[in-house]
Assembly symmetry: C2
Homo-oligomer: 219 residues x 2
Amino acid sequence: MRTDGRGRPRLEQPRRPGNTAREEILDAAAELFTSLGYASTSTRRIADAVGMRQASLYHHFGTKDEILDALLAGTVDEALELAAELLAEPGPFAPRLHALVVGDASQLCQSRWNLGALYLLPELRVGRFEILRLRREELRRRYRQLSVGVISESGGPPDSDDLPFRLVESVINRRSDDGGCAPEQPWVIADGALRVLGWDGDFEHVRCFSAQRLRLAFC
Amino acid sequence: MRTDGRGRPRLEQPRRPGNTAREEILDAAAELFTSLGYASTSTRRIADAVGMRQASLYHHFGTKDEILDALLAGTVDEALELAAELLAEPGPFAPRLHALVVGDASQLCQSRWNLGALYLLPELRVGRFEILRLRREELRRRYRQLSVGVISESGGPPDSDDLPFRLVESVINRRSDDGGCAPEQPWVIADGALRVLGWDGDFEHVRCFSAQRLRLAFC
């Protein structure tokens, strides 16, 4: 019999992706939050969707807010790390911003559930989500740093430095409207993020840089 | 004594902007939906916020969904009409797209509550909101028509035709993050909407066109 990692037998076989009970809970919660809504989803319902008792769910997460926090942290952390790496690398800013946009937009496109749609929840504005909000603000700041670099290299409009971050977020709205995300979408958005900053260099070259940097292809 | 427009005396003096009880209900609902969340707001709470009995609220709106529908229709209708007018006008596409972006983004910026944050609600995906969804889809289609025109005039990237609509929506995310909208934001976004389509003409000229077309200034 499979256990939930703390030695308790599970009610039934796992139905969800994830190697641990924790991952299954996160997956079930993500599905319910994005399809039913956050306020309308109870921890009881999440436990039912995983096939575990509500009491067992509380061994992993103390509250529904903790589940939301863990889910949304997962949408920010990878991009935050990639942004830090790219900021520390030498060379012109345009290919580095391009790679960040492709990497971050791909993750928002390919995640199993459209979690970014939860960023606008009023529930997130309370104090207990402050660390998450600060991490997202930090990601936005790193986008801005790279964007300001591109603007100064290309003589572009100084007040457009927040737009690349916003173009990446648009993946969320498009997934919501169209029920999916075309594979080329992150690349279209990355090219757009440079154009909106007034950059008009060799797009083939920056696409190649991003593909190699993100280990998607050699070109 | 003031009445609610159907001859019933009001419990107290109005506390909210709006000339009619209907407008006060919409304003209170908009505040509660964007601050508490849609699922967490009851019609009882909306009635309390207006200072009317719940039964009186039901003379104006049969359900909470009807209130949401009326609120969101208000965010789309004006832009839809402006887009139709601009599409029917002669001349190059770039100034017309610019004017639509300034007009629509200004409305999203200046509305008393950040209602666009409600577009991503899973509750909106059910059948009873279909007319609203179709109207928003139609607005998106009109943005695309103007964008395709700009792309063909400027030899820009054909797959970027959805990005101007997405840049306008970004006003919603930015208001949510920063708690407000800078007055120049619609203009920054409108310039960005042309740049992202590969347009690189005379920005002063299109800004003037938009200012005159929207009766904001003569220049």
